[in-house]
Amino acid sequence: MSGPDLSVKIGAMAMNNPVMVASGIFGYGDEFRGLADYGELGALVLKTITREPRLGNPPACRTAETPAGIVNAIGLENVGLDAFLAEKLPAAMEYETNIVASIAGETPEEFADCARALDQTEVAAIELNISCPNVKKGGMAFGVDPEASAEVVAAVRAAAAKPIVAKLTPNVTDISSVAVACETAGADGVSLTNTFSAMVVDVERRCPLLAAGMGGLSGPAIRPAAVYRVYQVAQAVAIPVVGMGGIWNANDALEFILAGASAVAVGTVLYADPAAGNRVLAGIREYLDRHGLAKVSELVGSVSIPHTSG
């Protein structure tokens, strides 16, 4: 199809268009097969894996609805690196687009071990889920600390040649400093935001609704908070930014792009509309046509915040 140039590069990963699927939403890619043409999208990020398999949080319940959002406490349940390589990745690779693996660990070494193995595969890039707990720091997430984040990125950088994207948590005072630390340590891109820490109380039963107690808020509710964080990070780093958090339609995606995202990812919306990524992509195309723009890259980061202040 001719039309505007939608291509985007993150390090060596070339994407036909800026629409990705966010990690975790989509499992290992196979379960949604057939519900939309996922191969049409720029990249698909698979569920975060860890070196060892993990059971995740206790069930009953793991996901709750909140106004225009959901709170999940899946807790990184995953099959582990070996089963991922043997069973899950080959199936995902059947999609004719970039497949991105997402990894987490409790130490930089665990990240590096996963990355080393993935470097031998066909994955287009590796996303680092640094929102997970850092055992050295008593379970505080790596991603809330620029140094710990940089350590993870550096360890992975040393272990793998593939493009690396660091996925940032919004639960920090200064997300830009984390982004800059990741860039300096060698990340090819950053993606944000992961979920906002959150809690839902079952008032009738007088206990947390999620078995894990707390979880992460995603969906349209967080969009304006996520857009602002993308804006802040895009001001601070030179590497591409992948924006996400509540994208529901093309207008939302364009908010992220105008705020500074080179690419965007759809997440929670896929539970309502499995074809949302394609819908968003079509809408971005339509917008570019309507505004007579030849390239999506012309839009990236084109808004700015006035320097006056009240």
């Binding site: 939403i25 319940c61 225009a68 339609n249």
Partner: protein, 292 residues
């Protein structure tokens, strides 16, 4: 855009997703609503015990996030109305059910299904004993429809907290067990007990009949509250094959997000209700670790 017509939602390429027209919507006793959907893709492929995952808002508003019922809602397939009608039976409790119960005839619903694994019908099976409690009765008509055409005998043991909680009329005649004529007419021998009238639990009914059943050819299929299912699992353990249908809160409904997991037997991690279930053999489930 109200009452809009038939746009195929989202350009999905999967036969499992379609805009289904609401052919009928009927209020039933006990805060129940019966919706009849025109859903050929479901009607063609469905097995009893499978469910559909429904977006509660107008299909053409899927590009705008709602404040509530952001996730789809899972509902069992309650009955087939050939050639392409599919009934669901919902008890209105929360917001999703309320929205669905108010959708007028003629509107469209964005439906994904059939999803999950339904009840298995073994080759050697002769009698199926369905044990259903409360809203567990929703898929029972479809179960009877499917089972009675293939098995010698279908028995339904049904229970509810009270008659008024049921979507069906209860028939009580002297010296006979209470019955649910609508379900009996589909081809099952029905026995009904209500906690308030008979003072019996439906699990007791099964217990009374167990000795008369043949483990090789007869099978128990259960759907209802967890406490009931737990009790049945205990009663049948090691003696009878028991299939149970479980419920959990869902997000994707497709096995991807791991929201709806239940503990698997033998420490084999978790199974998803939406894809591995909702129907499991009782021996697949770790009943100890299963939350009430």
């Amino acid at each position: 855009m109200p009452g809009s017509q038939g746009r195929k939602p989202g350009g999905g390429t999967d036969a499992r997703r379609a805009s289904a027209e609401v052919l009928g919507s009927e209020r039933l006793p006990g805060d129940h609503q019966r919706l009849l959907l025109k859903a050929p893709q479901v009607a063609r492929q469905a097995a009893p015990g499978q469910f559909v995952h429904i977006w509660c808002h107008p299909p053409d508003e899927i590009g705008r996030p709602p404040g509530s019922a952001l996730l789809r809602r899972p509902y069992s397939i309650s009955r087939l109305r050939p050639p392409d009608g599919v009934e669901i039976l919902l008890r209105v409790r929360g917001i999703g059910g309320r929205i669905l119960s108010q959708i007028p005839k003629g509107r469209l619903l964005d439906v994904i299904g059939p999803l999950g694994n339904g009840f298995r019908i073994r080759q050697s099976m002769r009698t199926a004993v369905i044990v259903a409690g409360g809203i567990g009765l929703a898929p029972v008509p479809f179960m009877i429809q499917a089972l009675s055409s293939r098995l010698a005998r279908v028995v339904l043991l049904a229970g509810a907290a009270s008659d008024g909680k049921l979507p069906y009329r209860v028939e009580r005649e002297p010296d006979k067990p209470a019955s649910l004529p609508v379900l009996a007419s589909l081809g099952a021998e029905v026995e009904f007990v209500s906690e308030t009238v008979e003072g019996t639990l439906v699990s007791d009914l099964l217990e009374q009949r167990l000795d008369a059943l043949d483990p090789d050819s007869d099978e128990v299929m259960a759907i209802g509250p967890r406490a009931m299912l737990k009790r049945l699992a205990a009663i049948t353990e090691g003696r009878f094959s028991l299939q149970v249908s479980l419920e959990e809160r869902m997000a994707c409904g497709l096995g991807a997000c791991r929201s709806c997991v239940v503990p698997a037997a033998n420490g084999a991690g978790y199974k998803t209700v939406c894809r591995d279930g909702p129907v499991f053999y009782a021996h697949e489930v770790d009943w100890e670790r299963l939350q009430p």
